[in-house]
């Protein structure tokens, strides 16, 4: 037989390669030298009229061993073994029968062959022996999951089996039912009554299986689930596993009902009761369920936290892990609730299990205070090299948010990030670090220079092209505005010498930006760029040539082309491409004129979809989206409108406000943009009626109360697009130094043209119409921006004490001090500093530090001293420091008016 040969060949190879290991292996494994062909041939003894029970068992084990080792059988092989295997049903030997069951499940080749065993299995399903019945049920359901015809034949037996007094039979039927529910749900649904009966079983696992199946049958019927849960929470569920299931179903009911009911949460008492169950599995399931409830309150959390805290000091690593992982999650939303566990948590930092240590560290980073930062960092550094990349990423994320919380700690934290950046690590890990540093550079102005130099060092030895190009781009953008731009040139030019083409090209672009912004560096940059002209990559050469021309080293004048270097091309790429294509077709006899490409000005009627900036800006500010990119997107859009381009730097854009009810004919949203001397109202309008075309759209604003702004001009919208946003603008002048607040009544004006339904075209003549919008309010807050300060105390003391204005306000009775703090911060809309937005538990007084910036670059710092008396009435003393006394007054005005 051919099968023999490879065996000897394989043995020969092994003999020569590893003689020593051989003997050991041989002694150890009864399967040494096993070979598929030989075993398959051996399996023919299944067909012998006299069944050798032991030999057959042995062969089945060998077959299963081969399968387990990943030795796949071909269809023909499987079919042959399967067929001869079914002959073994003739034997009465119980252990052999058990192996046959297992073999059928593992080897069953396809549904065509199933038919040959069904009669044997059905016979076993009717056997007096429970273990035959249970196994036959499992095997039959396993191999004929989608064969509804066959299943309906045996349905009667399955139904009976569900309520069988022997747990092995009942469990087999119930678990098979769960599997069948996927393919033949109607059959399983008919067992409802029996399954319900099985839920009362005394056997723990049967009860759990019945409960799981019953829930799966009913899961699409909320009312039924709710009823089931209600009745079960009252009765005594015995098995821990069933209790865990019940907790899951209860949580689901809670999650679905919490929106409707206020006050006491349904079933909370049940969950809390489960915290006193004797099985740890149940206690933990309940604690986790409580921690995951929507809008969980501190009071509800407390008992759960208490049991989790006990688990933290368990001798079982799994229990410690489970507890710390849950607490870590809680710390994201309720850092204060977890602070009680800090001592236990700190001892976990040295846990043998690195996963537990990492979770403990990151939890501490979330709940810790400023003074513990250095100590924690030291502990983290000691084990960073031991843990897996995915955990390192978790740590990096935690460090980043810590740094944003305590900006004045940036030197240590930044240092930590740069240290780990130098160590070994995969792409995702490095990316997380680089992104964290980029984040810090963006949000903490003081951290910019050190962050940039860390990144410079990193690209010296960075194996990831993507990260190198990201960093080079950032260097090009931020580097020229630093104190000593020249020092970055060397780092960037090194990349041109040493890196691949993609990185070289970005380095060239970055260099060019230095040349364009920093006058005195320009000659040097030009020399460097000239060297790049001989690069062997097209893209690098092209960029160098282009930038040289733009910097004025070529014949084109620098004055006209320099802006192109600094701003992005404000043309839709699709249009540009189309225009260039036409140009190429036309024979290229004239110079291409870029001005003939339509720009992205969003009010050009049916604007091309490529107006990415406009689309981004018109999306209502998503809560999670960071503020800065949103503002950048606005600035970009506004900059492209010639009339608005000269207004200076955009100071602040408000969140969009809906000026129309939902589901009306027209949808209008307004965003207020504050510029140094102007306020621009951007109206995003959208038409929802197909039968009409709206043209010449504008908004008329009439002041109704408060100080007036001087209207300068209106930019109408040529045509209001259907179901998409078009923009019209009103620009108002603001006297310098004034913070005009007031209300404006707004009216949408437009020309309506009916659309002829037969042709789909608009009629020639239209009529003018208007539509009343909601009022717009301009408040002091529109002129105030959140800004972080890295050292509040220093900034505070830098402002003359004389300039401080203090007042005390009563806030009335409040639920908690925390709530009062949040309320005042909401009113002021300023940036909380140094984590002072969080009140420690049980505190009777608290100080919060806020910082902000008024338009015109006027820094405002606020200290809030909160105190609470016996009757929970909260009073706050507000101390404001600002160089401009009028501004300080404004801040007080905001509070007193609120």
């Amino acid at each position: 037989m051919a099968a023999e040969q490879p065996q000897t060949a394989a043995n020969a190879v092994r003999d020569t390669v590893k003689k020593d290991e051989d003997k050991e292996e041989e002694e150890l494994s009864p399967f040494y030298g096993i070979e598929k062909g030989a075993v398959l041939q051996e399996s023919r003894v299944f067909n012998d009229p006299q069944i050798d029970v032991r030999r057959c068992q042995q062969i089945i084990t060998k077959l299963l061993y081969l399968l387990n080792q990943g030795d796949a059988f071909t269809k023909v092989e499987a079919t042959e073994v399967f067929f001869s295997g079914t002959k073994l049903f003739q034997s009465k030997d119980i252990n052999l029968r058990r192996m046959v069951y297992l073999m059928i499940k593992e080897i069953c080749p396809s549904s065509d062959e199933v038919i040959i065993v069904t009669s044997s299995l059905m016979k076993d399903m009717n056997s007096k022996t429970d273990l035959y019945r249970s196994n036959a049920i499992r095997v039959l359901c396993n191999i004929s999951r989608n064969d509804t015809a066959l299943l309906s034949q045996v349905e009667r037996y399955l139904k009976q089996a569900v309520v069988d007094k022997n747990s092995v039979v009942a469990s087999a039927a119930l678990v098979s039912g769960m599997h069948l529910l996927q393919g033949s749900p109607e059959i399983v649904k008919r067992w409802s009554n029996e399954v319900q009966e099985a839920v009362q079983s005394k056997n723990p696992l049967v009860q759990a299986h019945a409960l799981a199946l019953l829930h799966q049958i009913r899961q699409n019927d909320r009312l039924a689930v709710s009823k089931l849960v209600t009745s079960l929470t009252r009765s005594s569920v015995r098995s821990p596993l069933a209790q865990c299931l019940l907790i899951r179903y209860v949580s689901q009911v809670i999650a679905e009902s919490s929106a409707a009911t206020n006050g006491e949460r349904p079933f909370y008492d049940f969950l809390e009761g489960c915290l006193r169950h004797k099985a740890e599995m149940v206690i933990f399931e309940a604690a986790r369920a409580i921690a995951n409830m929507n809008d969980v309150t501190t009071r509800e959390l407390t008992p759960a936290i208490t049991v989790l805290q006990l688990f933290l000091s368990s001798s079982k690593p799994v229990l410690r892990f489970a507890a710390v992982r849950t607490l870590n999650k809680v710390a994201m939303t309720h850092p204060l609730a977890v602070t009680n566990c800090n001592i236990d948590m700190e001892s976990l930092i040295s846990d043998q299990n690195r996963s537990i240590a990492t979770l403990a560290i990151t939890t501490l980073l979330k709940t810790g205070n400023e003074s513990s930062v250095e100590r924690l960092l030291k502990q983290i550094t000691s084990f960073m090299s031991d843990i897996a990349d995915e955990f390192k990423i978790v740590v990096v994320e935690a460090i980043k948010s810590l740094c944003l919380k305590f900006p004045q700690k940036y030197p240590v934290l930044m240092n930590f990030l740069s240290n780990i950046l130098r160590e070994e690590g995969g792409f995702d890990y490095k990316k997380a670090i680089v992104e964290s540093i980029l984040n810090l550079i963006r949000d903490i102005p003081d951290a910019k220079e050190s962050g940039l130099s860390h990144l410079c060092e990193f690209i010296e030895d960075c194996e990831f092209t993507y990260l190198s190009t990201q960093i080079l781009h950032l260097l090009g953008k931020e580097g020229p505005n630093t104190q000593d731009p020249a020092k970055y040139i060397r780092y960037i030019y090194n990349r041109v010498i040493l890196e691949n083409a993609t990185v070289r090209a970005s380095a060239v672009s970055a260099l060019a930006r230095f040349g364009a912004v920093v006058e005195y560096l320009q000659p040097r940059i030009i020399i460097l760029l000239k060297r790049c002209l001989h690069d062997n990559d097209d893209e690098v050469r092209d960029r160098a040539t282009f930038y040289l021309a733009a910097l004025g080293a070529g014949e084109t004048s620098a004055e006209t082309s320099r802006p192109m270097l600094l701003s992005s091309l404000n043309k839709p790429l699709a249009d540009l491409e189309a225009n260039l294509r036409d140009y190429m077709m036309g024979g290229c006899d004239k110079t291409f004129d870029i001005s003939c490409v339509s720009s992205t000005k969003p009010n050009l009627g049916p604007a091309p979809k490529a107006a990415g900036g406009a689309a981004a800006a018109s999306k209502p500010g998503q809560n999670s989206a960071p503020e800065v990119p949103q503002a950048d997107a606005y600035a970009e859009v506004l900059n492209e409108i010639p009339e608005l381009a000269d207004l200076g730097r955009l100071f602040k854009s408000s969140a969009p406000v809906e000026l129309t009810e939902a589901e009306t004919e027209y949808m209008v949203k307004c965003v207020k943009h504050v510029f140094p001397e102007h306020v621009v109202f951007q109206f995003s309008c959208s038409n929802t009626i197909e039968e009409q075309v709206l043209e010449d759209v504008s908004v008329v604003m009439e002041p109704t109360e408060g100080e007036e702004l001087q209207e300068e001009f209106t930019l109408p919208l040529v045509s209001m697009p259907l179901n998409e946003c078009g923009e019209t603008y009103v620009c108002m002048k603001r006297a310098e130094g004034s913070f005009a607040v007031g209300k404006y009544a707004c009216t949408l004006k437009f020309t309506v043209k009916e659309v002829d339904p037969s042709t789909g075209e608009a009629e020639e003549d239209g009529y003018e119409d208007e539509y009343q919008l909601e009022d717009i309010e301009v408040s002091v807050l529109d002129y105030l921006q959140k800004t972080a300060v890295s050292n509040f105390r220093k900034s505070w003391e830098d402002i003359d004490e004389e300039m401080e204005q203090t007042s005390v306000y009563g806030l009335g009775a409040r639920e908690s001090l925390q709530e009062a703090v949040e309320a005042v911060m909401e009113i002021l809309g300023m940036q909380p500093c140094e984590g002072t937005e969080v009140v420690p538990p049980n505190a009777r007084s608290h100080t919060s530090l806020l910082s902000g910036n008024f338009v015109g670059n006027c820094q405002v710092l606020v200290r809030l001293y909160f105190g609470v008396d016996q009757s929970n009435a909260v009073a706050v003393k507000v101390a404001v420091r600002c160089e401009d006394a009028a501004v300080s007054e404004l801040v007080h005005q905001i509070i007193s008016e609120a």
């Binding site: 150890l28 494994s29 009864p30 399967f31 032991r54 030999r55 068992q57 042995q58 084990t61 299963l64 061993y65 387990n68 990943g70 796949a72 119980i94 252990n95 058990r98 192996m99 297992l102 499940k105 022996t129 429970d130 273990l131 035959y132 499992r138 396993n142 092995v168 469990s171 087999a172 678990v175 098979s176 769960m178 599997h179 696992l205 759990a208 829930h215 899961q219 596993l241 865990c244 299931l245 899951r248 179903y249 949580s251 689901q252 740890e280 599995m281 933990f284 399931e285 986790r288 079982k316 690593p317 799994v318 229990l319 892990f321 489970a322 992982r325 043998q352 299990n353 996963s355 897996a388």
Partner: protein, 178 residues
Amino acid sequence: METSCPLIKNILILDGEGKRIAVKYYGNEWATPGAQATFEKSVFSKTQRTNARGEAEIIMFDNVITVFKFVSDLHFYVTGNQDENELILVTVLQALFDAISLLLRNAVEKKTVLENLDLVLLTLDEIVDGGVILETEASVIASRVTMRGADSDLPLSEQTFTQALASAKEQIARSLLN
């Protein structure tokens, strides 16, 4: 789905070098032998250096949770979804280990496990069915594996569990040595 019943993704028994002894995967997450080998390699290398000889240990990676326990030259692993209750997974691991200890009369090592591989494979089959936990009581699992009480010739009262076990073991040992 958050409210589903606990599911096991796989059960692995590897040797001291990470080689397969017996494994069972449920569901299609690691559908090919290659994917399974990669998973086994990574779980082995990540856990290799831990001391999981006393209490069961735990690790989370690639969106799964694995609990594991090492005994002599064997590594036992049970893996579940990352949202799974860790204590349920560890119950399964403990059941697996205890049942095998019972069946092998505490001689839990690579040699005996391979010699009694049929018992071990049956144990896997009796603990979890298609990912659903079937039974967690070690003595119950062991008696189901040996089909105790199924032999109609010998009434249950006359054959103790140990006897049944002994006869089963004897049979298998003999058959494998043939």
